[in-house]
Symmetry: C2
Subunit: 344 residues, 2 copies
């Protein structure tokens, strides 16, 4: 069976997904028996393209590379097209949501996911918006329609967390998950350990594209906090809103703090976590000076890592790259393979 895929969003991640799907078509078919055609790509600003027979991915890449848009392609029209309308026009088996995140409303991701699941499509998202504000609601729609929602890349891009707990750690009860889930702040803290002050480390992060022009979402811990909300919902079935997370960013961390910690054999990290103790779920984002021997201490630069505390296994830590287009697209592909029934 050829899976019909729809892609919402065509920015860095959506474009990265198109590239990875194009690069790996043969491998995915051969190794996993996963055959697909991308039936639509829908972007607010870059254009909307529908083709029941499958969009030409190489052509999309070329247009994005040349023009930053797919509007010049044959059959393309201007966006936005509401998600539910598009899905009525072109139903798909798997909808991929790569839209950006508003931490408060969860939009546009939340609406895209609701429309996708309601249309009877499985949904995969890398956006924190929908699953960070109403995972339970989205799961309820999915259950009602007999489809799945998957969101591996919403927490650590393609570095496994959600699917790791769900599959390889099945049988374990989780009592805590905490780690470094924001690459931008970890990059800044790493640069400060190398001698930069906060302002110049932030500038460097902005220059490299890790931090946005308004860095508030990262440096004040909002990005990490919404990821904590996803973990609280997925691991503990607990609905937590961003304002409910105990949240301290890194703007108060000085070069003096960093060098004092280093002189004591410690490293300051922005630790984001969720833990359950006697039924109470606690969610936090806070800078913490951890020992050099701590499993999270070797996480440098824009990397991510999470330590999962379990009853059967003790602590398992997974470390991987931070957010990148290809890494995030990989998480989406792993989710799609799972939806397609790949089980080794």
């Amino acid at each position: 069976m050829e899976h019909r895929i729809g892609i919402f969003g065509c920015g860095t991640i959506g474009g990265g997904l198109v590239s990875l799907l194009d690069d790996k078509r043969g491998y995915l078919a051969e190794k996993y028996g996963f055959e697909f055609r991308v039936c639509f790509i829908s972007s607010l600003s870059r254009g909307v393209l529908v083709n029941p027979g499958g969009v030409d991915l190489a052509d999309v890449r070329e247009n994005l590379r040349r023009n930053g848009s797919i509007l010049g392609m044959s059959g393309a029209r201007r966006g936005p097209v509401p998600a539910d309308e598009l899905l009525r026009e072109m139903p798909v088996d798997i909808a991929c949501d790569t839209t950006p995140t508003n931490y408060e409303t969860g939009q546009p991701s939340r609406g895209v996911l609701e429309a996708s699941l309601s249309s009877g499509a499985n949904a995969v998202t890398c956006s924190k918006g929908g699953v960070g504000t109403d995972l339970a609601g989205l799961k309820a729609i999915a259950a009602k329609k007999g489809v799945k929602i998957r969101f591996e890349s919403s927490v650590m891009s393609g570095t496994p967390l959600v699917s790791l707990v769900r599959g390889p750690l099945a049988g374990c009860e989780i009592t805590r998950a905490e780690g470094i889930v924001n690459g931008t702040t970890n990059y800044i803290l790493t640069k400060m350990e190398e001698g930069a002050d906060y302002a110049s480390a932030l500038s460097e992060a902005q220059r490299l594209g890790y931090a946005e022009t308004d860095p508030t979402g990262d440096v004040e811990g909002f990005d990490a906090a919404v990821k904590v909300c996803i973990m609280a919902s997925e691991f503990f079935g607990s609905h937590v809103r961003v304002p409910d997370v105990e949240r301290v960013g890194i703007t108060g961390v000085t070069s003096g703090d960093v060098s004092k910690a280093l002189s004591e054999g410690r490293r300051i990290k922005l630790i984001a976590g969720v833990e359950r103790d006697s039924g109470r779920v606690r969610c936090y984002v806070q800078p913490r000076a951890i020992e050099e021997s701590h499993p999270l201490a070797s996480v440098r630069g824009a990397a991510n890592a999470i330590s999962i505390t379990t009853d059967n296994l003790g602590v398992v830590t997974v470390t991987g790259p931070g957010a990148g287009a290809r890494e995030t697209a990989q998480g989406i592909i792993a989710d799609m393979l799972e939806i397609a029934g790949w089980a080794g």
Copy 2:
């Protein structure tokens, strides 16, 4: 459906599996819909017990605790009973192999797995014997019979590796996997960093039960080498025998080497790995001085860790506890859940 389980071996791991299954029966049923009965337990020295209606696990635990044997239980008989005979007498859906490992012959694990798969049972093993000497052959029997063979806990006990690559990392191509897969040698090297000499560190490891009376398998790198063979076969489809692994143990590592490395900001670790380069597969076990910032440097004591190099994600590292009865049993349970069709 109630899954019929058979357990081969009733030592530390087999007993640990009985305990964990008994402890988690309710949780496994409620969360994963996994219901089971253990229809036989078969041990060379501790007795053989068959009950189509399900062995009383609490009773088994109590007998093992009191007498180190199940021979006193009603209906128990002396072993050994050949695996194929037992499986004819009492067919099961999932056979769990917890027998010990002979690095050269792969027995008794290999025979147990062949008999199990041939009987039409799915097979789960924590033993390196069968899968370390003939994974391809076992997979061929499984394919012929339409069943599965799973072996997560054969490399890092319950710490995910095989299932991590198969599921959450699906879509990635692996070019290398290397890490610390022998807890005993890592414990010894950690103690040497704390000032012990090799002999006293080894004695301490033996006292704690990490190392056997004859420590050759661990300290000469055989245990790590057979795990490398499993990875070579699983990740690269390459049949490698233990003698083909470039293998150096830790017996030549002196206190001087360890302290010299430490003074240079490095730690000596026994690194086991497999890598593919232009079609050639290289397998190795060797002590190596790695930088303090290396993801494997913070792996202390009897812990295990592997870094997996992929095309889509770069390097992903997973760290967890070393071999313990409960940890290994957890890996077996995760494999059983996957076989039973659990997919979140």
